[in-house]
């Protein structure tokens, strides 16, 4: 059948044209592109192109390629098979029992595809012919960069404010215990003080009178000074410098300089 078709239009020029196309086959972007080129050789408006004739031209091209032992890409062969099928549909009277599109419908669609591809090519050319930036019109030569000024705005909620305050005011409740140096009277200090003062007291005197000045009023300070002074007095007793007594539980503790043993 292809032979017949080729014979119909198979004059020398046609064959030469097919050969020229074959030489060029790598230049085509697929079978549709090739078909479009073939369609143009009909030298008619694409809308009036004869699809039957086009199918025959294409099949002649494929036939020629085979004879010349040129490897055609698979999609060219698929198109050839489809066009052979289309050609048979177009040549045979339509079978009313057959489902699917008629040959005329298929041909119309192919014509539409060709026309659309052609139109898009023209559109692409027109688009590239538009004035182009950097070629026909130009942007500002020294664009000024827009400086980004970042302004930071701080915010807080009333809840955060109150929580912060609560946190500060209660932090003492949970602070790990640390000696408050300011309010601590050390035993060393008490020893120094007692050693200096004890000589003046000839008789029993209340230990509490030896507390440093200004430490009696503040309870915390008094506690610390009392403890230190008591510990210091015990230390002095131990070394034999003092005697110490307490009449009863919780009664005042009294101290007295111890006479040098044997008057020595």
């Amino acid at each position: 059948m292809a032979e017949d078709g080729a014979a119909g239009f198979g004059d020398v020029s046609e064959r030469l044209a097919a050969e020229a196309l074959i030489v060029d086959v790598d230049g085509f972007e697929g079978p549709l592109d090739l078909l479009l080129t073939l369609g143009r050789t009909q030298k008619v408006d694409l809308r009036k192109v004869s699809i039957l004739q086009l199918a025959e031209q294409y099949l002649a091209f494929v036939e020629r390629a085979k004879q010349l032992r040129i490897e055609l890409a698979a999609d060219y062969l698929v198109m050839a098979a489809w066009l052979a099928f289309l050609k048979s549909k177009l040549l045979l009277p339509p079978d009313p029992t057959e489902e699917g599109p008629t040959g005329a419908e298929l041909a119309a669609h192919l014509a539409f595809q060709l026309e659309r591809l052609s139109a898009m090519r023209e559109a692409a050319a027109k688009l590239m012919g538009q004035d182009q930036k950097g070629r026909d019109f130009f942007v500002r030569g020294v664009p000024e960069s827009v400086e980004r000024v970042r302004k930071v705005s701080y915010t807080a909620t009333l809840m955060e404010l109150m929580q912060a305050y609560a946190r500060i005011r209660t932090k003492d409740e949970f602070r790990p215990f640390v000696m408050d140096r300011q309010n601590v009277f050390t035993m060393e200090q008490a020893l120094d003080r007692l050693r200096g003062l004890i000589g003046y007291a000839g008789d029993w005197t209340n230990l509490m009178t030896y507390l440093p000045e200004g430490w009696e009023s503040d309870p915390m300070k008094r506690r610390s000074a009392t403890a230190a002074t008591f510990a210091a007095s015990l230390e002095l007793v131990k070394h034999g410098h003092l005697t110490i007594r307490q009449a009863d539980t919780f009664s005042p503790i009294q101290i007295k300089l111890r006479e040098a043993p044997g008057g020595a």
Binding site: E115, L117, D131, D136, F137, R140
Partner: protein, 241 residues
Amino acid sequence: MVPDLNNTPTNTLDETPPRLPEELEPVEASLFEAPPMAEQERMVEAILFASAEPVTVAELNARMPHGAEAAVALEHLQKRYEGRGVELRRVGEAWAMRTAPDLGFLMQKETVETRKLSRAAIETLAIVAYHQPVTRAEIEEIRGVSVSRGTVDQLLEMEWIRFGRRRMTPGRPVTYVVTQDFLDHFGLESARDLPGLKELRAAGLLDSRPPPGMVSLGELDEDEAPSNDQNELFQEDETDE
């Protein structure tokens, strides 16, 4: 339509809110009142002049003092630049200053070598522009060959095309649309100004016509047929104006 601002400068304040009586709140008033239109025009001029990229009306408003109406100032400015060596051009939703195309011959020095696009890339670009939003499968159907990843990537990289919404068809394929950069590069106000668009549409060449026998696919596509989308797209553009 556009009032001549230069003749009656006192009237330019018609656009801005009325001034508060001076004796009431003089300081506040001057702080919050929009500058006179002539001044707004200068501001738009300076911003657009300084930028190589198109600037949207929203950004103009954001950069200008409170209460400024960039859209109105733009109208005045466009008129002022009509026929000059530098033009005020609309690019999609943005505006830019560009030299007049007829003076391109003076600019050999400024001409930038653009990357040479392959024929496949140019055709793909044109198909995206005229058929947008368009899927890769549709581009391939129109061109009759498969579109290489590289071609699309190149156009994406040049920022001439970008991804559009996904098509609501099986597989939810991505679509491609052209960008503002594309419009800017080709000096187009919008995709509606593509050369020959009307004729192509009238000839039905932008319709999505499924191959006969592929009815089922066609039906699925119907809601989102590119021709519909395109109309939608262009209507959107129109309402934006």
